[in-house]
Symmetry: C2
Subunit: 188 residues, 2 copies
């Protein structure tokens, strides 16, 4: 018998991504987003939701572009920091000792210390009450050579962070079964 826990924004797991933009003076900035995910395959779409009051919101509208950076667990303090302070007052790249790199394809910086990054042009926008959903078309994924495993990227080497609403961030644990394979055992 399940208990009602109320109308809350909960889901398991949630991600912890870093969204990169340039502000109006071309200063690179990042903001943490757990309200985010892949939303389509073709074009490959990555959505991130931000409150209109956040400094990065205006930067995405102005540049029509952003990056999404997938941090390793060793970047945890920087990831949490980027969600606490505002780029209006702080140079988050500098204070978190991160390196902004100008993207090849869009007017936005990526985080060099993240093993995998996505360069996105703004594709569609949807207002959802408290947040604006920015859907980016992924124009390119860039990855450190060490995490490239043939045709896929090595999630264990990427070592990404799981956001846990109201609690502790978690690491991704061990593998439990192959996709589009282990479920075949249930086909009658």
């Amino acid at each position: 018998m399940k208990k009602s826990f109320g109308a809350k924004p909960l889901a398991f797991p949630l991600p912890a991504y870093l969204v990169g933009t340039y502000d109006e003076s071309s200063k690179p900035n990042i903001i943490t987003s757990a309200w985010a995910g892949i939303l389509a395959s073709n074009p490959p779409c990555l959505g991130v939701s931000l409150r209109p009051a956040r400094y990065s919101h205006a930067a995405i509208v102005k540049n029509q572009a952003f990056t999404v950076n997938f941090p390793s667990s060793k970047l945890l303090a920087a990831v949490d920091f980027a969600g606490i302070v505002s780029g209006k007052n702080v140079d988050k790249f500098k204070d978190a000792a991160l390196t902004p790199i100008k993207s090849d394809l869009v007017n936005a910086p990526y985080v060099d210390e993240c093993p995998v990054v996505a360069e996105c042009r703004l594709y569609k926008t949807l207002e959802l009450g408290s947040h604006t959903l920015f859907v980016g078309e992924i124009l390119d994924i860039k990855a450190d050579e060490e995490v490239i495993l043939g045709a896929i990227l090595d999630i264990e080497k990427i070592d990404p962070l799981v956001f846990n609403y109201g609690g502790h961030y978690h690491k991704v644990g061990g593998p439990v079964g192959k996709g589009f394979s282990i479920g075949k055992s249930l086909i009658k």
Copy 2:
């Protein structure tokens, strides 16, 4: 120096959720979605993207409702199975030995074996090329008593699945630091 990996729908981590609906004959059905996430806080919004050809797509349009179910890793085979076969031809609940429960608040079934579920009414829809994004307003989260930990839900007891595009599903690993706390060490 990062290497270009192409325009692919990749992000780390990604979730593995089960989306529950009733079809036109009121048969309960589920489909796996990794193209999904929380997209706003108020109203609490949970988005799931489905291809128009999928059987669950028409069911969401018709009922204007769905559930999102957060499976534990022990349900892995059922989760993978629900993404491989179609509810048009198969009773997925029956074949995966899962129990459909009629939601209290919307016309959709939830999966009793999932420790946490969300009852959603369709709030907004956005066409994104290959996929339709269905944004549900979470009307209630329901959870098994064992995973309720005061004001939050216990992610370790929920034991959710991480989807890994092209590879193996993973479990969520151990905690690495408290949210809105560990990042304060970087504030100057």
